[in-house]
């Protein structure tokens, strides 16, 4: 009933968030450095790569480099999104925008939604532009346009939503820098755990585990549960990057990271709205 009236204030808050963030010198500098860094990758595409005495063909090199770039950009922008989110509420409070907006007929949920969507859009656009540059370089080198690379970037933006919501929520409970480090820690643990699991699935690791016996089976099961429930940030990135490859069969397993992160977004989002609704506005 209120949807048509509720949307314009949210759109305005989104607009103000984008405007205020883009006015920050630190954002402009950060974006400039990242874009320049991505452009510099261009030089790597022209090199000759020799593996086991065999020179790799240009197509393989370009694909491998674009995949590596994809993951680096996706991970880097997650850190940027966390940095943008960590001081969002504090800055609005200190600059008087929080009391200014909430003294108007704007509900708190509209303000929070506007802030989340604003920062998410900004960081997703940031990532999309960087991925777009890589896509352009790849397309020029392979002489084939790869729209799936950009679709993969959009899928990866789910990770950014998780980071934004998590940092915003934690910044209401603890100092901003601790909230940032906490979410960074969650990401690092997830990435390391995914790396360990990937390594443990290698033939050598399987053989070593068989030799050592299955004595700690219960322990392993407990860790497996924790591992499965941990935010699957790398899983989403992998799933997104697989869109750029010619893999046809994707079952529930490959969708699990998306479901995992979506559930986290909903749960932390609800907690954020509940926490902010009782927050004292200064």
């Amino acid at each position: 009933m209120k949807t048509s009236k509720a949307l314009p204030p949210i759109a305005k808050i989104i607009g103000y968030t984008l405007e205020d963030e883009m006015r920050q010198k630190s954002f402009v500098i950060m974006f400039g450095i990242c874009a320049m860094g991505v452009f510099l990758i261009r030089g790597c595409y022209g090199g000759n790569y020799v593996v086991n005495g065999q020179t790799l063909d240009a197509g393989t090199v370009v694909r491998a480099l674009s995949k590596v770039s994809f993951h680096i950009i996706a991970t880097g922008v997650m850190i940027v999104a966390a940095l943008l989110s960590m001081q969002l509420f504090r800055r609005d409070r200190n600059e008087g925008m929080l009391s200014f907006v909430l003294s108007k007929p704007i509900a708190r949920w509209q303000y929070v939604t506007g802030k989340i969507v604003g920062i998410w859009l900004l960081s997703a656009l940031f990532m999309f532009i960087l991925h777009g540059i890589v896509c352009l370089i790849t397309s020029v080198n392979l002489k084939v346009f790869m729209p799936e690379y950009l679709v993969a970037s959009l899928v990866c933006s789910l990770n950014l939503l998780f980071v934004v919501i998590a940092v915003l929520f934690l910044s209401l409970l603890m100092p901003d820098s601790v909230a940032f480090l906490f979410v960074l820690g969650v990401g690092i643990v997830g990435f390391v755990a995914d790396g360990i699991v990937a390594a443990s699935q290698s033939q050598m690791a399987q053989a070593m585990m068989q030799q050592s016996g299955a004595g700690s089976e219960s322990n392993l099961t407990w860790w497996k549960v924790v591992y499965q429930l941990w935010p699957k940030l790398l899983g989403v990135q992998r799933m997104a990057s697989s869109l750029t490859e010619s893999e046809s069969s994707r079952g529930f397993g490959s969708l699990y990271p998306l479901i995992n992160i979506s559930i986290y977004c909903v749960i932390i989002g609800v907690l954020l709205f509940k926490r902010f609704s009782t927050e004292d506005i200064i």
């Binding site: 920050q24 925008m97 909430l102 007929p105 004292d280 506005i281």
Partner: protein, 234 residues
Amino acid sequence: MIQLKNVTKRYDSLTAVDEVSFSVERGECFALLGPNGAGKTTIVKMLLDFTPPTSGSLSLNGIPSSDARCRASIGYLAENHHIPLSLSGWRYLLRCAELLEINRSDAMDQCRSIVELIGMQGREHAKVGTYSKGMIQRFGLGAALMGDPKLLILDEPTSGLDPIGIREIRQLLESLKGQGMTIFLNSHLLSEVEKICDTAAIINRGKLLVKDAISALVKDGDTLEELFVRVVTG
């Protein structure tokens, strides 16, 4: 216009506002007085739903203060008002108009007349970072006047202003009062309150001590300041 019924606000063991009840009628110019830490700003924060009351109820125009709709007809100026340094005063006023859903052409007209009213012509497009505290306060007051509010809640509106600025604000408030606007004023400048307001309430340590018409409170040969000291010190 404003109604508080048995409002209490506790922060852990501290009772900031203790069973306060009073009402402010439409068109009234009301001053809430009290020493620092008396609970004045807490009452303002509860009126704007910036903090919920522990018990009791607050309503504006019959609508509970927790309902965002009741803030459509309120203009608010915070104590120690701030504006983002990267904005201009003009952009700040425009944002205010946008949030009040005033259409673009009306918003531009209102911004122009408010800039003139607060005496900031020629400086409205400069960045807020270049403004003095008094100028920021004027733009804050301007934003509070946007959209022709029915109720003006001003928390220390003359803070940071020089004597000429204080006089101008007083004249502006008198003119708004003449137009029938309801004004809720938190101020330490008792001489100004005495000149502008019709009624006043004095609170101390969260308790309402007196509330009456200023003419009834201040007897012949007395001043509001003397009354205030007498009531607060017991």
